[in-house]
Point group: C2
Amino acid sequence: MKSLQTHLTDERIQSVLSGFKIGLEKESQRVTSDGQLATTDHPTSLGSRSFHPYIQTDFSETQTELITEVFDTDKGAIEQLEALHDVIVRSMENDERLWPISMPPDLPEDDRDIKIAKLENQGDINYRRYLAKVYGKRKQMVSGIHYNFEFSHDLLLNLFQIQNEYNDFTSFRTDVYLKVSRQYLRYRWLITYLFGASPFADKGYFMDQEPEQPVRSIRNSEYGYTNRPEIQVSYQTIKQYVSDLEKLVDDGELIETKEFYSSVRLRGSDNVEELLTHGVSYIEVRNIDLDPFERIGIAENTLRFLHLFLLTLLFLDEESDDAKLMLDLGTDYNNKVSLEHPLENTTLQKEGEWLLERMIQLNSQLTAPFDCTDLLDEVKKMLVNPSKTLAGRMLELMLEKDWTNEEFGRYFANLYYDQAFAKPYQLAGYRDMELSTQIFMFDAIQKGVKVEVLDRVDQFLCLSFDGQVEYVKNANMTSRDSYVVPLMMENKTVTKKVLAKAGYHVPGGKEFSTVAEALISYPIFKDSPIVVKPKSTNYGLGISIFKEGATKEDYDEAVRIAFSEDDSILVEEFLPGTEYRFFVLDGKTRAVMLRTPANVLGDGRQTVAELVAEKNKDSLRGTHHRAPLEKIQLGDIEQLMLKEQGLRPTSIPNKNQRVYLRENSNVSTGGDSLDVTEEMNDSYKHIAESAVEALGAKICGIDLIIPDSTIRGNKQDAQTYGIIEANFNPAMHMHIYPYAGVGQRLTMDVLRLLYPQLNN
Amino acid sequence: MKSLQTHLTDERIQSVLSGFKIGLEKESQRVTSDGQLATTDHPTSLGSRSFHPYIQTDFSETQTELITEVFDTDKGAIEQLEALHDVIVRSMENDERLWPISMPPDLPEDDRDIKIAKLENQGDINYRRYLAKVYGKRKQMVSGIHYNFEFSHDLLLNLFQIQNEYNDFTSFRTDVYLKVSRQYLRYRWLITYLFGASPFADKGYFMDQEPEQPVRSIRNSEYGYTNRPEIQVSYQTIKQYVSDLEKLVDDGELIETKEFYSSVRLRGSDNVEELLTHGVSYIEVRNIDLDPFERIGIAENTLRFLHLFLLTLLFLDEESDDAKLMLDLGTDYNNKVSLEHPLENTTLQKEGEWLLERMIQLNSQLTAPFDCTDLLDEVKKMLVNPSKTLAGRMLELMLEKDWTNEEFGRYFANLYYDQAFAKPYQLAGYRDMELSTQIFMFDAIQKGVKVEVLDRVDQFLCLSFDGQVEYVKNANMTSRDSYVVPLMMENKTVTKKVLAKAGYHVPGGKEFSTVAEALISYPIFKDSPIVVKPKSTNYGLGISIFKEGATKEDYDEAVRIAFSEDDSILVEEFLPGTEYRFFVLDGKTRAVMLRTPANVLGDGRQTVAELVAEKNKDSLRGTHHRAPLEKIQLGDIEQLMLKEQGLRPTSIPNKNQRVYLRENSNVSTGGDSLDVTEEMNDSYKHIAESAVEALGAKICGIDLIIPDSTIRGNKQDAQTYGIIEANFNPAMHMHIYPYAGVGQRLTMDVLRLLYPQLNN
């Protein structure tokens, strides 16, 4: 392939240079809390491995494999890998953790205790049995990261259009990937130097000889999981690559082509033969050790570096046309660097510096969002100071803490385990999204439903399972509801009209669209308990309640407040009783919730402020709606409320004295959410369910006022209940993680509504 | 029944006093443009009379009957009656009009030319044949208004709770309506005096004797359509009322109970016998003449007066317990007043003044919105000055214009006809609603689909036909679309992702949620034609187009403008070509529209300003989106645009010179809408249809950029088209009433989507 160097400065290339796609695969071993290989099966809550798109098992039953989808940013892949870790760790039973190092934990003495993955397909099991026989089970227990990389179509197409060597785009693209692969194999020692992270192996890995000192990467060395040296495949042309591989299989050297363990695999088809016709469309880089300092085994900066590295290799001219020579040199260099002491400078530092210079040059061509200057500064330091490399850092920490490799592994396994459970309602990688959506995504991923975030600000997901595509917004807006139903519920007047027509008790009232009209109508309401509220705004804004009727002055003020929130307002009859939220899905009440205003319970010892601080320690309480409950504040409103009770933050309430800090019961102002699904009289559930049916909704949060929930509710008896609102975007997280009572996994109910075929 | 007077000041009564329900029925004769009785059948476009809830025929085939639903305000009934008039007048063929006077137009000499209504039910026809025989066809041709009235349930319930005469609510309610009916019959002469409006009868009505002078109301006199004097029914008790009626039928005096033509009928059941068990639930007041000064035959003030009149009669003590005596007196008085000369004072003026005083007293108890002071002042004047009564006004106008009664009728028939066609895209009574909704309501009413406006500001309708209820918002949001689909279309990024995934060509681009991120990304776009736009705002706000690429300064400015409209913006590839709107419904392209910027065509004679004024005369052009097109403005933007072409408003363009006054093609800024449904190459319709299918939408406006519509479009060929937007709330009125080309009745398509069983 002719030099591409000169094209780098071409304007057409500039604008498309940074486009790419990546996908990650990450293996790790399941271990017990004391770092022993797990003896349990793959977690059953994860559904079937025969189709799970994200969570699989590799060689052994204990070796989980996490697979991301293809992304066009590093961040996208990192985020999904973060989420997959939350899902796998929270799905494992018996407090199991993931082993954070590429080299396996202590392996059992008896080979038979290393269980081959219990897959459904017998062929898959036989393949693993063959591998166990040829390489030994122990070598198969090594884990790592596979980095699948594709240049953007635009970049390759523009390069193709500029060059004049190839007439056929597919051939050009294939040769690009062949070149990059050759280059990668030639220079991969730099990756081993920087990111090699397997200095030791624990007991039970080495069957015969082993390195005498800590090294940069056992996994990438001759002690790692490699083919025998005789297994050689040419990267000169695609024809040679394919015919070499096929010959090795024909000769019985390999059982199938995927047994060829190169640091770079040419990809595009599972059938190697097809690479000749379809061409190579991406490459799989396989020599990345797990980074134990990262919960997910790899840092975003490592991905950025790999991207820039491959881009540099694409434009860099090859040292020689002799592919075999270069490949052998690369292997030599890599073996050497792998076995260097982690804290000693590498003998190849000079070549490293030269290569880094090429990367810096290329980086100067990249547009701002892709600028890697910071990263390259870092790598420069790593190159001269081996204690900044991964292996170097590992060794230094072990020395500092006086840890064995096993203790090191156990420490991080436990750390990451604790992190996964610290806020079990959040999903790492997507913590900026709404809580209900995070929990919903967790459930989907766990069950093997593919999730694509189409718009994260908008909480818009695309799900896919069994060939069935579903779009979901806010985790509760689905194709199962018809368009007019939420429009109807958005309009409180329309909702009431529809419910009243269907025979349900709703508060009477009038709607006003001008202040004058509302003010002049005071006489109609003057002696009745009323609620004045904006017609369509939610979240309790602009609402005034007059349980004893309003004076003219209060009424006028309430009208003005309500109009400040909306163009129309409602003046409604006030219904006395307790408000309950019924969450109805697919005709069934799935959860009933009672909300109480922010409060603390005295112990006769602590002050109000201390009690608040203590209550706020609950990990379910957070701020800005990223936790199921909000922390109780001690601001002006709360202090005023205390004052009205003759209290201050420094007062010490009596034992069992309930002190309220708010009048309103919103969870968003520190209120408690109490699940009462079990206790609630079925008669009210039936009313909620049939009212939601009358509205035609599949998913609905409907608020009932119930004066006395101990007596049976009756649709016809307005004394027993009243429906005050129906919500088409009902919060779900507060039901799933209530302050008290049993959590109701509503997100799973939504998932099953969409995919009734999900069977566990 | 004991006096209710004292309860009037009771607080419980005060707050519910003004509640009521009304429903109207209005007959009128269809006539030709020269005022002759129509000879055509009932219009076929109105669907079948066997179920039409709003438009029926009464006695003759030419006698239309318009029936409103039940409303709890006068305004509601008036508005619907307005709309029904627009529908019937625009549905009649051969330029027919409605005769505006109660007395029929010139009737044919031969009785056989008065055709009995061609109803489906043979019993209905036989009944009419019987009436023709007993009363003569001519008397049956008189038209009027029936006013159905019900006191609010709350008022009657509170009265019932306060009184101590009755133990049973139904009996109490029945006796309330009996009392009010007796009182109405006693005092109905006042209604005849004020609102009687049939001073003359045209040729062919009187078969024998006739009044010697103009009168207040032939219809309400002995010359009107009445039973023989022997037909007497008691209003003393419900038992007597029912038994009298049944005896008349048993004796063969009446063929059935509905042949009893009293000025007040007791209602509650079609079967009179059932009144004994179910009670009377409302009354039907039948002595209202058509008001020829009102397009719909009755003024809202007349309704307000009737309401107050009935409310007064409810609380007013009866003059005597002898029902028969009072009834006879009432009939006497009414006959007398009916035949008084319209311009002479009534002999009953004193009683009228006394009665009016009672009404004024009651009015003082009503809360503000129902205050009738203005109205009562008016009526006071009518009472002393007969030329202010309806009959008086009619006669004075005829004298002034030297019109015969026939000429008078023809004048108003023509006037109202012209009014109905002045803005055929609007629906009287609902002109404040969106145009598409007005047209949709027209279509629904025409086809006999019941329409209830649940919320007029929100354009929210409830339809009902054949027992099937449908909710519709904005005339295009229906239960046929699923909830996520519009949510998807609301988000331009999600829409593009879904379309791109399905293989459609959409402009490439990037989304930014911070200004900084957008600004730093300039290099990516610097040399490409781009569009910078807010992510979700519509109506073209905040959009900048750079067909030749943007300078850094222009780009920065465009980014800031877009961010002023939304939290996120898109920077997109600009696709060259012409933009077409495809309206796809139920998988089929129903309309294709090309929009051109505001423009005029020179004639070598008129100035730009004159050409604009002339173009603006088109009745399709209006302001504030209450017409299918907007008037062209000559503001700053338009003058600047002229200036750039070296023109001013006073310039005279050459013959056939097209002068554009705007850059943008929005109809809302005076642009022209050109229907090109027929001409558009089917290949593009197929692309639009399948793209809408990919989005999963039933109703969608999808915008395609087509560089050359003369060549076939190909989904795979990005050169032939690009999809730039999908709209879930597409305007329909511009397709129905385009500036040029054939109108596409999309509202009817939506109606048929909801009700495929509509068969004409």
